[in-house]
Symmetry: C2
């Protein structure tokens, strides 16, 4: 197995691999590709989760999935073969419900039918805010108009967005994500949405609190440059982007890239055991800030994969 | 009839009323409210068009309407009672077709079914750009995904938006306009759309060219603060916002307001005949620049209608 297929954030990352105490994994695009039925597990990902669980590292799963309740979502992951329990998974909806209670807000929901049961106990009469999730087919013109009319009719309109992703990959192709409709409603009502989910620092912090770890002790692995890697770095965590899921080669300015868990996990554990001296004998590159604001530093490299990719010599 | 129901842009506007040579009218929200069937004419608007046509002023109609071909749209206006001909009406679609020809582009269309015949003669095979119009019910999740996939698959994605309105008023309430979906696709693909229609200076200039007039000789009247009044001012024209259509009292920072054509037209012709000395004897206010960037100056006033409204003393 070559060690050149991954690139990590921050100088000295390989050195700090030994001192890491926890890993947070994104789910869709890292462990599985969604699509018809339960979707499909990404090669090597079931074993990667198993290996991480057998290690001394704490493991959590941080997702912007909002098409199902947490229980149904975890049941799907278990059917795909992952050893994951509900308490290890952090999606935006439960965090949103906590915010509603705290601020005495009653939502109008523009979400997927599968997520509705999560809000069963929430007062939705005479709504004074709107929550938009990844509603998929529910993003009809009529439904978006309804959400818009609720917002435009409020004296102080409040819009919560469960994530801000642009798109994600399903087995039959790329699909628009909630962030696109968040932007649509922001523009229609001339307001700024409050994002609940990645990359919100509050959201990441709630996961760190659950782990009882400091940000610098934790590595986040995801397929979304801004929401996973950028969000993690913004909180002081390390971030690695995998090339599975929605990763596209045109995202050439980020170097925090791994080809996927299949190749990353063995290298990762090798780093924890032996440090980086075995990795081609190359020192890590200095960190750089890409146009997306995400810091990156490459460890090894097998050639450019995107027009803007920097390769260390 | 009181003369205090309108407010106009630019100091000295009343003075220059005499020297105006042309008027451009927005259609939806100024002449009629759209909705079931043909919609309904706004009181006084049929007579206003008649009065303007009988005057020595040139008259054109500038619209971001993209739910029908120009012919069908004008036929509807005529059924509503307006004396308007096809050659006087400027919608975005014909302008877009000219741009496609000029740049050798083949569009994927995300538009209203009623607009499709306008593009009958246009090559749409193997599309290398996307055109989004006010597609209304055609703004399904599936259709927006299709447009997104065309764009994200292009090496140099080009998105044209037929207008950039946030919403408009139909007889059964406010409806989301094309700008909202333009913003959605811009965010999804991380690009900037090219707007064809108001407030594009190129679009306004094509109308001025047809009139054979200079910008300072023409007054634009519309119900949209940014696309009508702002767009006109940006071109050097005068702009007046009417309080009909989608006008909302929360747009309190703009003073370029008239209650509607019903009251505006008699005052306008009085100004052209007598100047402003009869209007309560008040001098026009100095121009101000609102937060929207639209210059405004009030002539007379009968009290604040929005929280941010300035009233001249």
């Amino acid at each position: 197995m070559r060690t050149s297929h991954f690139v990590m954030a921050d100088t000295g990352w390989p050195g700090c691999a030994k001192s890491l105490k926890g890993v947070i994994l994104d789910l869709c695009g890292v462990l599985y590709d969604s699509g018809e039925g339960d979707g499909v597990a990404i090669p090597g990902s079931i074993e990667a989760v198993k290996k991480l669980k057998e290690s001394d590292l704490q493991l959590r799963f941080c997702t912007n999935e909002t098409q199902a309740t947490r229980e149904k979502f975890v049941a799907k992951l278990r059917r795909l073969g992952f050893d994951i329990s509900v308490s290890e998974v952090f999606p935006p909806a439960p965090a949103a419900i906590a915010v509603l209670k705290e601020r005495g807000l009653r939502p109008h929901l523009l979400v997927h039918d599968g997520l509705l049961p999560e809000f069963d106990g929430v007062d939705k009469t005479n709504p004074n805010c709107v929550i938009v999730g990844d509603a998929a087919e529910n993003f009809s013109y009529q439904n978006l108009n309804e959400a818009f009319r609720v917002l435009i009719g409020l004296e102080k309109p409040v819009l919560f967005s469960l994530g801000q992703g642009r798109y994600y990959k399903e087995t039959d192709g790329l699909k628009l994500d909630v962030g696109v409709y968040m932007k649509a409603l922001e523009y229609a009502c001339d307001l700024k949405a409050e994002v609940i989910g990645k990359p919100s620092p509050t959201f990441f912090q709630s996961v760190l609190n659950d782990m009882g770890l400091q940000p610098h002790e934790v590595l986040m692995i995801g397929d979304d440059l801004l929401n996973d890697v950028g969000g993690a770095q913004h909180c002081g965590m390390k971030g690695v982007q995998v090339r599975t899921g929605k990763y596209r080669s045109s995202e050439g300015l980020c170097l925090c890239v791994s080809s996927g868990l299949l190749r990353f996990i063995p290298v990762f554990f090798s780093l924890r055991t032996h440090g980086c001296e075995r990795l081609r004998g190359r020192p890590p590159c200095p960190p750089r800030r890409s146009s997306s604001g995400v810091e990156s530093g490459e460890l090894g490299g097998d050639g450019p994969r995107g027009s803007g990719r920097q390769i260390c010599s």
